[in-house]
């Protein structure tokens, strides 16, 4: 906009001096607000004062209750003025002041008058203000006007009423639901924004009525929707309908897919994106369906607008999680985004590339990332570290370069969360990739030489104590650990002493030298460090000679406590030192909060460091302890596998129950985790009655009821079955929860004495072949396959019949066997006609199994599969074939 030079200079002169709000002060403005009470109102002056009040509020200033009330009452006087500008300001300031329910009354009549005014704009604004400050009772009085307003021919009035409806639906749903006829009419409005607002409200009113939503979508996708915003809403609702409906089984077509695909050619970018996203998020999306969406997203990757690049790369990043091969075509465009000025875009591009890249591109990618890491914030770096960890687990042969990268960034500047993410990743790689162990441990050792975080130092020392003694040359770690004793604070020193002692206990040859070091720690100036050194010197035995440490001593010093730490903590808090010595046997072993903790644990990312679990047990070890503490199950032997919890109730029911299947060689134990969600009830003597008539090989041998199940305090009941030893028997079990229910007085929390017996039907539970398989990966499948040999190899071919896609067939077989896919072979490239998938696992009886699956399309849809199994036991190789043949 060209303007004369002189004018510009004039402006500048004006602007240097002061802001119109310079030195503004709340008290003074409140004084000024008295001008609202003047008998002769000055609209200009009043508007200025309201602006000042708005400025204060917009700066985060708050008014006390008295101040707000005073201003509000004064503002209501301004309704006397007929000045339009002032009236507009009055509407805004009333909304900002949000008067309380008892004050609203003073302004309702003025607003009701405006709402029925002949001036459209008074009506629109009065509706907005009234709906902001009103409560349910007033709403019934004005409902008639609001319904009229929804179908008002002035779009501003209609939109005001519709948007009010969207807000009021949260507080007064019954009333707003009565407006659906008017809203339905407004959906057909010729005004674009009215249609947008009406569509949003109508969908919210009917969102629980699947048929109505389906009808709405059907009619609108055929008709014309006027604004891009409304079109985006329609796409979202269409996706919802698609999710809830099934494909046409005859033609394989997905309902409404053509509509979504058509939207990819819309003129508004917003609509194109919404459609592309909707397509990429379709359940079981095929590569044919995906291709057009990926193509438009790829075009946006090179857009000049950062928002479009961000949206495109964000969507592709999500697609890469489920369909990495579909995104590979975009890799070149994505690589150019690594240098994008917007770091959010660059980070998304990198993490997408890490997901879609193949083994050969890893080294090149790492080079590019190294340059990029130095100039992004920690939060982005953490995302990259997580992606690199996943990449390394996918391509274990690349562990050397990826581990080097992690150790390099570990030495650079960074905050605690970032460093923790790197350390966690290294720990996970050490655990999962045996070849990476030694180099990983040395990287960690070097890191603690210069680590400023006590928490990380102690955790790494603890981890070194577990893994270091098992390496080929444990002595090389001692120097790093002993250095901590000299250079660190007391917490780290104590940790280092314990780690040294672990080396002494586990590696007999090192014991004399460890004793020398521990003796030096006896002169430490910290009590805990000295106490630990003394304890270890006196218990490890042999007085520093090369002798084996007694197993009992090892268990005493380094074994885990046999009780949940939460319970131990509670017991210690309640312990009164003046009485007798603390008895660890008095700590309860029942785990109260287990089901909730398990749910959280499954949704969390894997945590790296092997510190003792802070809460209740969630691993097989912890389950093993729990089960062995129950006398009825103590004789079942070693626990082979515990499944993830399987829900037996719908969400938000009265009683929430999930089950964990524990597999032993000759037994199966079902652990039912129960939660009572009714505050007014106490359940007692809770058991699950299991009908095993459809599981012929199982015989119930024990049941352990739960004595009490109070509100929101989860507990467990168990049922155990005997099955033929070493056999992977399968079957279906139906479950009925039986209990005595007692009423609880909510005010006192006390339960009545008498209860009533009641039952609650749970979902059926199935024991399948995959329950007998542990998912255990191998880092190099070919080596493992070769070394297993052909002695117990069994090969056969199977026809899998017509399938939606090759990927679907691959997934079905993986799930059927419950094995760990290796080297990323679970991902099927789009449009492939054949695929090889490699699986690894450990079968019941601790038998290692490797599987090579070769799939091929036989005709348009039929899938054929060649299954080759190698294991350490020929019966297991045969069993795998039986599972596939019967599955």
């Amino acid at each position: 906009m060209a303007q004369p030079l002189v004018k510009k200079d004039d402006d500048r002169d004006d602007e240097v001096d002061y802001s119109p709000f310079l030195g503004i002060e709340k008290g003074a403005v409140l004084q000024e607000a008295r001008v609202f009470n003047d008998p002769q109102l000055d609209p200009r002056r009043c508007s200025q004062v309201i602006t000042k009040l708005l400025y204060l509020l917009n700066q985060g200033e708050t008014f006390t209750k008295v101040e707000a009330t005073e201003v509000f009452f004064a503002v209501t006087k301004l309704f006397q003025s007929r000045d339009m500008g002032l009236r507009r300001m009055v509407y805004v300031i009333i909304k900002e002041l949000s008067p309380s329910a008892d004050e609203v009354i003073i302004v309702t009549s003025s607003l009701m008058k405006d709402m029925t005014s002949k001036t459209d704009m008074y009506r629109a604004n009065a509706i907005r203000v009234l709906c902001r400050i009103t409560d349910g009772t007033l709403l019934t009085q004005i409902e008639r006007y609001l319904k009229q307003a929804i179908v008002d021919k002035n779009p501003v009035v209609a939109s005001a009423a519709l948007v009010s409806g969207i807000h009021l639906l949260q507080t007064n749903p019954e009333i707003v639901k009565r407006w659906s006829n008017e809203v339905q009419e407004a959906v057909q409005s010729r005004a674009a924004l009215v249609q947008f607002h009406a569509l949003a409200l109508l969908h919210q009113i009917r969102q629980n009525d699947r048929l109505a939503v389906n009808k709405l979508v059907s009619s609108l996708t055929r008709g014309s929707v006027r604004s891009p915003l409304a079109q985006c809403l329609l796409i979202r609702y269409t996706s919802q309908v698609i999710r809830e409906s099934t494909n046409d089984t005859q033609t394989g077509d997905r309902p409404f897919y053509d509509f979504l695909e058509g939207c990819l050619r819309h003129k508004a970018e917003m609509v194109i994106f919404e459609a592309a996203r909707a397509i990429t998020e379709l359940n079981g999306v095929t590569s044919r369906e995906l291709t057009p969406a990926i193509t438009v997203l790829q075009l946006f990757l090179s857009s000049s607008k950062p928002v479009l690049r961000f949206a495109a790369v964000r969507t592709l990043n999500k697609v890469a999680m489920s369909h990495p091969m579909a995104v590979t075509n975009c890799n070149i465009d994505m690589e150019s985004l690594i240098s994008d000025q917007n770091r959010s875009i660059a980070t998304l591009a990198i993490t997408t590339l890490l997901k879609t890249g193949n083994e050969s591109s890893v080294d090149r990618l790492m080079k590019q990332i190294t340059n990029f890491m130095s100039d992004i914030a920690d939060e982005f770096k953490i995302v990259v570290v997580d992606a690199i960890r996943s990449l390394c687990l996918k391509f274990p042969l690349k562990h050397r370069s990826l581990m080097n990268f992690l150790s390099n960034i570990l030495r650079e500047e960074g905050g605690f969360e970032y460093k923790k993410a790197i350390v966690d990743s290294i720990v996970i790689l050490i655990r999962d990739i045996p070849e990476a162990k030694e180099s990983g441990l040395l990287h960690l050792c070097e890191f603690i030489e210069d680590c400023e975080f006590t928490y990380l130092s102690t955790q790494i020392l603890h981890f070194l104590g577990i893994e270091g003694p098992k390496t080929s040359d444990p002595s090389k770690y001692i120097r790093y650990i002993y250095n901590r004793v000299h250079l660190e604070n007391a917490t780290v020193r104590a940790g280092a002493v314990s780690t040294l002692a672990k080396f002494g206990a586990m590696v007999d040859g090192l014991k004399p030298r460890i004793f020398v070091l521990l003796r030096r720690c006896l002169f430490d100036n910290d009590d805990e460090v000295r106490d630990r050194a003394t304890l270890y010197l006196n218990t490890l035995g042999g007085d520093g000679a090369v002798v084996e440490t007694d197993e009992g001593v090892k268990e005493f010093l380094f074994g885990s406590l046999d009780v949940p730490l939460v319970n131990l903590e509670n017991s210690l808090k309640n312990y009164d030192p003046s009485e007798k010595a603390f008895d660890i046997n008095s700590v309860p072993k029942d785990v109260k909060t287990q089901p909730l903790a398990e749910k959280k644990a499954t949704s969390k990312k894997p945590t790296g460091l092997g510190a003792p679990p802070p809460g209740p047990p969630s691993t097989v070890d912890a389950y093993e302890k729990l089960l062995s503490s129950i006398p009825e199950f103590a004789s079942f032997g070693k626990l082979f596998k515990s499944s993830a919890p399987v829900e037996l109730t719908e969400a938000e029911t009265e009683y929430a129950v999930n089950v964990v299947k524990h597999i032993f060689d000759g037994h199966v134990v079902f652990q039912y985790n129960c939660t009572n969600t009714i505050p007014e009830q106490l359940l007692e003597n809770v058991t699950v009655i299991v009908d095993a008539s459809e599981a012929e090989e199982f015989a119930e041998v024990a049941s352990k009821p739960l004595r009490q199940l109070p509100y929101d305090s989860p507990g467990q009941t168990f049922v155990a079955f005997e099955k033929p030893e070493g056999v992977s028997a399968v079957g279906k079990f139906s479950n009925m929860l039986r209990f005595i229910v007692k009423e609880v007085d909510p005010s006192t929390g006390e339960a009545e004495d008498d209860g009533v017996e009641d039952e609650y039907q749970l979902e059926d539970l199935e024991l399948v072949a995959a329950d007998y398989m542990l998912k255990v990966g191998v880092s190099n499948f070919r080596n493992a396959w070769e070394s297993m040999g052909v002695d117990f190899e069994r090969v056969d071919e199977y026809g899998l019949g017509p399938r939606d896609s090759l990927a679907e067939a691959v997934n079905a077989v993986i799930n059927l066997l419950g094995m760990q896919p290796c080297e990323g072979t679970e991902v099927v490239p789009p449009n492939s006609r054949s695929h090889t998938c490699l699986l690894s696992g450990v079968y019941l009886g601790n038998v290692k199994v490797l599987v090579r699956l070769q799939f091929g399309l036989d005709g348009p849809k039929d899938v054929a599969m060649k299954l080759a199994v190698r294991s350490e036991d020929e019966t297991v190789s045969d069993t795998i074939h039986e599972i596939v043949a019967s599955g």
């Binding site: 309201i50 602006t51 917009n58 985060g60 339009m84 704009m121 779009p155 979202r236 928002v307 959010s344």
Partner: protein, 147 residues
């Protein structure tokens, strides 16, 4: 929901902040987060060039308009693309009120009208009006022309 609209001057002082559905105790955090985001990234950016960021499940679109920076924060249906639309409406309406790219002084001079403009554009976290001519008329309590 549009969680926040924020205007700041070139030194990072807040000129307007309007939050919707953000607890009072989190507002300070958002304010400083956004101002820092602007300080880190807005230097040398052209007027109205949109920048984008995401923080957990929340999206932020921001830009420079004369001497002021504008930030819009949203979640759920208000993702980066919807927010780009919202910020476009806001910047064109503010330019319309100021008659040109606003200096800080000009922005403050037109403060009352800008508040009315924002009120016409966003209502409790929802985008209500998008056309700048209509918004200009609504601020003056006049019916839209196309009607």
């Amino acid at each position: 929901m549009i969680l926040a609209v924020l205007f700041a001057n070139s030194e990072g002082n807040i000129l307007v902040e309007r939050f919707n559905g953000v607890p009072a105790e989190e507002r300070l955090h958002w304010r400083s987060f956004l101002v820092k985001l602007g300080a880190d990234n807005l230097k040398g950016v052209k007027n109205e060039e949109l920048l984008v960021a995401s923080h957990k499940s929340v999206y932020i679109v921001y830009t420079v308009l004369g001497d002021v920076s504008v930030y819009v924060v949203g979640k759920d249906e208000y993702d980066e693309l919807a927010l780009a639309e919202v910020i476009f409406v806001i910047t064109s309406a503010v330019k319309d009120v100021c008659g040109k790219l606003p200096t800080e002084r000009l922005f403050l001079d037109k403060y009352g009208r800008i508040c009315l403009t924002l009120d016409a554009i966003i209502w409790k976290g929802y985008l209500e009006n998008t056309d700048k001519d209509r918004i200009r008329r609504l601020v003056r309590l006049k019916s839209p022309t196309e009607f």
